[in-house]
Structure formats: structure tokens, C-alpha cells
């Protein structure tokens, strides 16, 4: 049973994560362009923040500062600035949770990279005693353990706040509690696994066996549990609201910061011409059922009857 969950199940989980992530991103990307709905100031427009402060704004060249935009994104991703500014009481827990996730993912990525390099004969195994391998080994341990500890504290803090703060509790649905509880258990299992496999040797060995396509049995039960839970989390992530880490890109770049104006002969114009051909099926009396949007918009006389 343990072999199944730390072997075939992890392959399936990885596949689900990749397929789920691809599916979600493609689904969102394929949604129709919407009518503009920005929120100002737009960071990439620099200090001015908006083109609409100028007379004849359409004639002025659009000066874009990607650097300013990246700066705002970095503050948000690395520091959770909006939460810090507007919900300080939750920031500490949330920040620890996010740092925990970043570190854990980094630790996983390093172990994976290390296993790939060792398997390919491009790097020495951590046990070889080489300085680079030892340093990498220590970084992985710090990232993994530090990540689990920070994540556990952060998730537990947020769960406790949610259970004790009436406002948060009332607005939380069962899935919210489930997600936080899941994170608590996940990070706790990571710490527990560390007590059984301090130098993470078993993790490395198992990772290498997974990469070879011949997963072995994980000797430590606590490590097997942590791996199983990590697999479950990865498979669940793209289908949960925790996928906001990817959705956020679309929130900002496709909605709140999207001031791309319409120009003749562009993809925007072609797309909108297509949308106006969609038949709408709303039932309001002021609308003409099943007629295309373009027909609705030219039917002012019918609208008078509404």
C-alpha cells in the first residue's frame, strides 16, 4: 500500500497537477475579451498612472514602464503588500504560510534538480562529500524544514483566526476550513517526516527511484505519509481556489491593468465583431430573444417597450 501511494499515486498526482494547471490556464486564456474594467493607477504608466489625465490622450505615445509593473508585482508576491497595508492582523500568518509554500516548493525543486543531475552524472551525490553537494544538501534541508515550520505556523494561525473571529468564521464556507486544515496537516507531516529523515537521504533516494521509473518502498511511514499528502495537495491545487497564485496574473494583466484601446484591424476588433454575432438568450422583456447582440443594439424601437 505504501509503495502505491509513494509510487504510482505520485506519478498520477504529478500528472493531474500538470494537466489541471494547463487546463485551468488554457480555459481562462480562452475566455472572451471583456469590456474594459480597469482600476487605477496602472503601475506600468509610471507616476501618471493614467492616460486620461491628458488632452488628446489617444494621440500621445503610450509610454510603458514594465519595470514599474514588475516592481508592484514583486512587492505583492514577495511581501503580500496589499494584505500588509489593509489587513495587518492576518498578514503575519498569511505571510508565513506563503513563505512556507515558497520554501517548500523551492526545497522540492532543488531535490528534484539534484536528483536529475546526479542521475545524469552531471553532479556528485550529496553523500560524496564534495563542497557543492554539501552546500546544496544543507540548502535543501533549510528550505524544506524552514518551509514546513513557517507553513505550519502560518496555516495554524489562519485557521485559528478563522475559527475565533466571528466575521471571518461567518464568511468562510466549509471549503475554506478544509483548505486551511489540509495545509496544517500537510506542513505538519513535512516536519514529522524530518524527524525520521533528518538529512533527507530517504527523500533523495526515493526521488531518484521515481525519476528512474522504478519507485522503491519508502522505509519511513511518516515520510510516506508526507509524500502522499504532498501528492494529494498537488493534484487538488489547480482545482481549488488556492490556484489564485496563477489566476492573479489574469486578474491584474487581463482585467484591472488592461487599458489596451481598440484599434482598427486588430485582433481585439475581430474578436468583438465575433462576439456581437452571438445570439443572446436572456429573457428580459426589453430584449429580443435569440437575436444576435448586434441586432439587439440596433433595435432601439423595441427597447422602448421595456
Amino acid at each position: 500500500m505504501s509503495w502505491f501511494f509513494t509510487g504510482p499515486f505520485l506519478y498520477a498526482a504529478a500528472l493531474l497537477f500538470l494537466a489541471g494547471t494547463a487546463y485551468k490556464i488554457i480555459s481562462i486564456s480562452r475566455m472572451p475579451r471583456h469590456l474594459r474594467w480597469e482600476l487605477y493607477p496602472l503601475p506600468r504608466l509610471g507616476a501618471a498612472g493614467s492616460r486620461y489625465q491628458q488632452v488628446d490622450h489617444g494621440r500621445s505615445p503610450r509610454e510603458i514602464s514594465r519595470l514599474a509593473e514588475i516592481g508592484v508585482m514583486a512587492e505583492e508576491i514577495l511581501l503580500l503588500k496589499k494584505l500588509f497595508a489593509n489587513r495587518r492582523d492576518l498578514w503575519f500568518g498569511s505571510y508565513l504560510l506563503h513563505v512556507g509554500l515558497y520554501f517548500s516548493i523551492a526545497g522540492f525543486g532543488l531535490v528534484l534538480t539534484e536528483a536529475v543531475l546526479v542521475s545524469a552524472g552531471l553532479a556528485a551525490a550529496p553523500a560524496s562529500g564534495s563542497l557543492a553537494a554539501r552546500v546544496l544538501g544543507e540548502v535543501v534541508i533549510v528550505a524544506g524544514i524552514g518551509g514546513s515550520a513557517a507553513g505550519l505556523f502560518g496555516a495554524a494561525f489562519l485557521l485559528a483566526r478563522r475559527l475565533t473571529d466571528p466575521g471571518l468564521r461567518d464568511m468562510s464556507d466549509p471549503v475554506t476550513f478544509f483548505n486551511l486544515a489540509f495545509l496544517v496537516v500537510l506542513f505538519a507531516s513535512g516536519l514529522l517526516a524530518w524527524t525520521a529523515d533528518g538529512p533527507l537521504e530517504q527523500v533523495r533516494t526515493h526521488m531518484a527511484s521515481l525519476l528512474r521509473g522504478r519507485p522503491g518502498v519508502v522505509p519511513s511511514t511518516s515520510l510516506a505519509l508526507a509524500m502522499t499528502l504532498s501528492g494529494l495537495f498537488a493534484a487538488y491545487l489547480p482545482f481549488s481556489r488556492m490556484f489564485h497564485f496563477a489566476a492573479k496574473y489574469f486578474f491584474y494583466h487581463r482585467i484591472l491593468w488592461d487599458d489596451e484601446p481598440m484599434h482598427g484591424g486588430t485582433a481585439i476588433q475581430r474578436d468583438f465583431a465575433g462576439y456581437l454575432r452571438y445570439p443572446l438568450t436572456w429573457s428580459g422583456e426589453h430584449l429580443q430573444p435569440r437575436k444576435a447582440w448586434s441586432e439587439q443594439l440596433s433595435s432601439r424601437d423595441d427597447a422602448h417597450q421595456g
Binding site: 481562462i28 475566455m31 472572451p32 475579451r33 471583456h34 469590456l35 474594459r36 474594467w37 480597469e38 482600476l39 487605477y40 493607477p41 496602472l42 498612472g49 486620461y52 489625465q53 491628458q54 488632452v55 488628446d56 496589499k82 494584505l83 489593509n86 489587513r87 498569511s94 466575521g167 471571518l168 461567518d170 464568511m171 468562510s172 464556507d173 466549509p174 471549503v175 481556489r241 490556484f243 489564485h244 489566476a247 492573479k248 486578474f251 491584474y252 482585467i255 487599458d259 484601446p261 481598440m262 481585439i268 476588433q269 468583438f272 452571438y278 443572446l280 438568450t281 436572456w282 429573457s283 428580459g284 422583456e285 426589453h286 430584449l287 439587439q296 443594439l297 432601439r300 427597447a303 422602448h304
Partner: protein, 533 residues
């Protein structure tokens, strides 16, 4: 403090969350109006007041089980359509993302002027109605919901849930201040608008002021006020006479001037309620030598677009007809007067609907006024405006279009040093006037009682804070709100309800009036605290 969990939203309690006046945020004792009037008995017999004891919609109570069932099935039908490409391509992406990715951190709550002013009553949380929408959608339209049933946290769907949700969609001003603080980017204002859209486009539920005597009348007569072209021309004649009285100069307001550089379009309510505003534009533009015109064509002299607040088709019908009127006149660009929602509606939201010869440049009047003032195109004497002035930032032009500095640059040039004072929370962090999203014109049933005491309360506090050092009525003060709807809210709430004029001698008006008042060439002041224009 009584709590209202989301799952209990459909309970059969007569009023789910009665507004508790004693919980409203504090104002100075002399500024506090009387408690809101309860709904009349005759209304209670016929209409639904079960959300908070107020009604914006006047929804008739269902009399039979079939009627109740029709309400629920209509809502579910509309909810399904809200997430389809064909019916909601215009806002599908923002709707889907804001539905799926809220983390329920409540960061939006403290940003909401309505929730804060109400004394933090649960139902007014900006994410409360969104959460209802999410849970109901998940329960009825997702595989997990079919599996989890009530464990989705959704209330049992009944007619009360639908009616209360419809009313709740009209307890948010769509100012989107909450979206600005959301760490993820979730937009509760948008979801509120989507709910309004569902109710209008599927169930025919919308406030009469926005639909029947709003967009429907607008499309039928050419203006939201119902003003027909002949009446519009009469009004202009009246304004020309008043200008002559005020300035001693007869200005001929240009109308239907083919090929003019600028078509200026005002909210038609200005001509009826605040004629001093179009008059001031005429005086300033005339003095600055601007090549401009008004249009007397149907749809050409009305800037408002109430469809923006509740119905995509009505919105698009109006926007396209307005630009078509400008196209027929052959103007070089459209400049929208001091009306926030109208500016946003036609400049940014309509942008991707307009192609071919409808791609006429469109912009706010504020940068143009700044250019006139800063460029020395009119001679100004700031000492003519020697009184304290504070500035309201209309959400639609400021947070939602980023127009922040032109109005401030103007004020620093037309006021003596030290006379301009910012409100707390200004610029893109401003609070709504309380009249946003149609509230300023929604006067049915006892809704104005709620609007004035809750939605406009934050603005009342801001104005009092800004003028905190000179509240004595011996000092005349000016609350500058460069937006027709914001002025409407000022008139109804700040002046009529809170009586700021009598108590503190605060006059309200637009920005261009202050420019005209500072014009050195005028024989006397344009503004008056004593007489109406």
C-alpha cells in the same frame, strides 16, 4: 451584535437585518438627522422589505407557491446564463475569476464605505452578496455542489433569498474601492453589477429610476430626463439669458456646429437642476476661444448611460447611439462634461464596442479645463475664490479612470494659497458620495432614507473633517463635486438630510463654476451663497 450567517439568508424572519440607527458611525450631534422612517403599512402589505426594512425595487410579494417557484427558477436560469459566453461575453472573465478565487479574508470589508458607515452590519459586507452568489452557483451548477449539497454553505434557495439578493445588489454603490484593496484582485463591485444584470436581463427586475424612467425613456426621448430636443433648446436660451444677466455679455452657445473640434456633452440633468454648470462651461469655453458645440440631436445632448449600472444591452444601445450622434455631426472629438459615470461609460467601457467611423476620440472635460487654466487662456483672479474649498473625487473618473491631478492643478491656480483642503482618503482612495451606481436618482419607497443615512454617511464625515477648522456658518465654504450624480447625492444627503447648508454654510457645486467665479473679466462673482443661479 446580531450576526447574519450567509447560510441563513433565506430564513423566514420578517426583516433579516434591520438597520440599527444606533450602530451607524458617529457624526457630530448637530449633524445627525432624524432616524429613518419605517416603511408605510400599505407598502409592507404589497412589497418585500425583508432584507433590511428598506426597498429600492418594490418587489411585489408572491401570492402563490407557483409565483414563489417562478421567482426561484427565473433566478437559477439567469445564474446559469451569467456564466455563458454567448450571454455574458462582455464580463465573463472578470465574473468567473471573481467567483472562483476569493479567499474570504474580508480585506475588502474595511474598504467599504457602506459597511463601515452601517456600523459593520453583516449583510453590507462587500463580499456578503458575492459569497451568496458563489455558494448558490456552486451548489446548483458544479459537480462538487451536487455532491456536497448544503455543505457548500449555500442557503436553501427560496424566493426570499432571491428577493433579498436583488435588494442587496442595490446596497452597493459599485465604487470598487473594495477591489482596490483585494490582495487577489477579486472585484465585489463587479459581481454586484453582474447580479443586477442577471435580475434585469433575465427577470426584468431593476429600479424604475434606472430602467423604465431611465434607459427606456432615454432611448425613447433622447435623454434620461425625458428632455426632448425642443425643450433642450429652450433650456439653452434660458441659460444664455442668465449668462447675460450674470456677466453682462450675450454669449451664443454653439449648437449643432458641423465639424467642430469638440462636441461637449453634459448630463442633461445639469440643464434642469444645475444650469450654472453648463453656463460656466459656456463662459469659460467662450473666453478661451475653444471651437466647440453642443448637439440638439436626440441622444446627442445627453451624456448619462444608466445601463452601465445594471444592463449590458441597454448600456451598449445608449453608448453606440450617443457616438452615432457625434459622428453625424462630424465633430473631431467628444468631451464629456462633469459627469463621472458618463465619462467612464463612453471613454473606457464603450471603447471596444466602437469600430469603424464610430471611433471618435472621447475624453473627460477635466484635462481640457486644466489646459485652459494652466495655459493662461482665461485671465484669473484666485482671490475671487477666497473661501475654503474641498474636493470630492468622483469614483468613476478617479479610481476607475485615473484622473487625479487635473482637478487639483486647476484648484491650486484658481484659489488663493491655503484655501484648498483635501479630504481624508482622497484621490484613488476616495469614498463614494453615496449616490453612485444610480443611488442619486433612486427615490422610490423608503430607499432614500437608507441612501442618505448609510451610503452618503462616509462622505458627510469626510466633508466635516475637511472643514473641521471652519465649520462655523459665518465662514462660507464650497464642496466641489465635479460630477452630476455626486452633486445629486450632495443635494439629497448633505444638504437636505444633513442640512450642511443651514448648519455649516456649505455650498456644493462643480469645478467649472469655480473657474468661472475666478475669471477676472466677469463684472461680479459667478457663485452666490445667497441666491440660486
Amino acid at each position: 451584535m446580531p450576526r447574519v450567517p450567509v447560510k441563513d439568508f433565506g430564513s423566514d424572519t420578517p426583516v433579516l437585518s434591520p438597520l440599527e440607527p444606533e450602530r451607524l458611525t458617529q457624526l457630530p450631534a448637530d449633524a445627525e438627522p432624524r432616524a429613518p422612517m419605517p416603511p408605510r403599512d400599505a407598502w409592507l402589505e404589497k412589497y418585500d422589505f425583508s432584507l433590511d426594512g428598506f426597498s429600492a425595487l418594490g418587489l411585489p410579494l408572491p401570492k402563490t407557491a407557483e409565483e414563489e417557484e417562478r421567482i426561484v427558477s427565473g433566478f437559477l436560469r439567469g445564474l446559469a446564463k451569467l456564466f455563458t459566453r454567448e450571454n455574458n461575453w462582455a464580463f465573463l472573465l472578470p465574473t468567473a475569476l471573481s467567483t472562483d478565487y476569493c479567499m474570504r479574508c474580508n480585506t475588502c470589508n474595511a474598504a467599504c464605505g457602506v459597511y463601515e458607515a452601517s456600523g459593520r452590519q453583516d449583510v453590507y459586507r462587500p463580499n456578503f452578496r458575492s459569497e451568496l452568489l458563489r455558494r448558490i452557483y456552486r451548489r446548483y451548477f458544479s459537480p462538487q455542489g451536487k455532491l456536497l449539497g448544503k455543505w457548500t454553505g449555500a442557503p436553501e434557495l427560496n424566493w426570499r433569498v432571491v428577493y433579498r439578493l436583488a435588494e442587496l445588489a442595490y446596497r452597493c454603490t459599485l465604487c470598487r474601492r473594495c477591489a482596490g484593496v483585494c490582495p487577489v484582485g477579486v472585484d465585489n463591485g463587479l459581481l454586484c453589477r453582474e447580479l443586477r444584470k442577471l435580475f434585469s436581463m433575465e427577470m426584468g427586475i431593476a429600479p424604475a429610476a434606472l430602467h423604465k424612467s431611465g434607459t427606456v425613456r432615454h432611448l425613447a426621448t433622447g435623454a434620461g430626463t425625458g428632455m426632448k430636443p425642443a425643450a433642450f433648446l429652450d433650456n439653452l436660451e434660458f441659460i444664455e439669458e442668465i449668462i447675460e444677466e450674470k456677466t453682462g455679455k450675450r454669449i451664443r452657445i454653439p449648437v449643432d456646429k458641423k465639424g467642430a473640434e469638440i462636441l461637449l456633452v453634459h448630463n442633461s440633468g445639469e440643464y434642469l437642476s444645475w444650469p450654472e454648470n453648463p453656463a460656466a462651461f459656456a463662459i469659460v469655453f467662450d473666453a478661451a476661444g475653444i471651437d466647440w458645440t453642443l448637439s440638439s440631436a436626440s441622444m446627442g445632448y445627453e451624456a448619462v448611460n444608466y445601463g452601465l449600472w445594471y444592463d449590458d444591452v441597454q448600456y451598449a444601445r445608449i453608448a453606440m447611439a450617443q457616438v452615432e450622434a457625434a459622428r453625424r455631426l462630424g465633430v473631431k472629438k467628444i468631451v464629456v462634461g462633469e459627469c463621472g459615470h458618463a465619462t467612464k461609460a463612453i471613454v473606457t467601457i464603450a471603447d471596444r464596442l466602437l469600430s469603424g467611423d464610430l471611433r471618435i476620440p472621447r475624453e473627460s472635460c477635466l484635462p481640457l479645463l486644466e489646459e485652459i487654466v494652466a495655459g493662461g487662456r482665461v485671465r484669473l483672479d484666485p482671490w475671487r475664490n477666497d473661501f475654503p474649498v474641498t474636493l470630492h473625487d468622483p469614483c468613476n473618473m478617479v479610481r476607475l479612470m485615473g484622473i487625479v491631478s487635473p482637478q487639483r492643478n486647476i484648484l491650486t491656480r484658481i484659489l488663493p494659497p491655503g484655501r484648498f483642503r483635501e479630504m481624508p482618503s482622497n484621490g484613488t482612495e476616495n469614498y463614494c458620495c453615496g449616490g453612485g451606481s444610480g443611488f442619486a436618482i433612486m427615490d422610490a419607497y423608503n430607499f432614500p432614507e437608507w441612501r442618505n443615512r448609510v451610503a452618503s454617511r462616509k462622505k458627510a464625515q469626510q466633508v466635516l473633517t475637511a472643514f473641521g477648522d471652519c465649520l462655523d456658518p459665518s465662514v462660507p465654504k464650497y464642496y466641489c463635486a465635479p460630477c452630476s450624480n455626486c452633486k445629486g447625492a450632495a443635494r439629497e444627503a448633505l444638504m437636505d438630510c444633513y442640512r450642511f447648508r443651514e448648519r455649516y454654510n456649505i455650498l456644493y457645486g462643480g469645478l467649472v463654476e469655480l473657474i468661472a467665479n475666478a475669471m477676472a473679466e466677469l463684472p461680479g462673482p459667478f457663485l452666490s451663497w445667497e441666491t440660486e443661479f
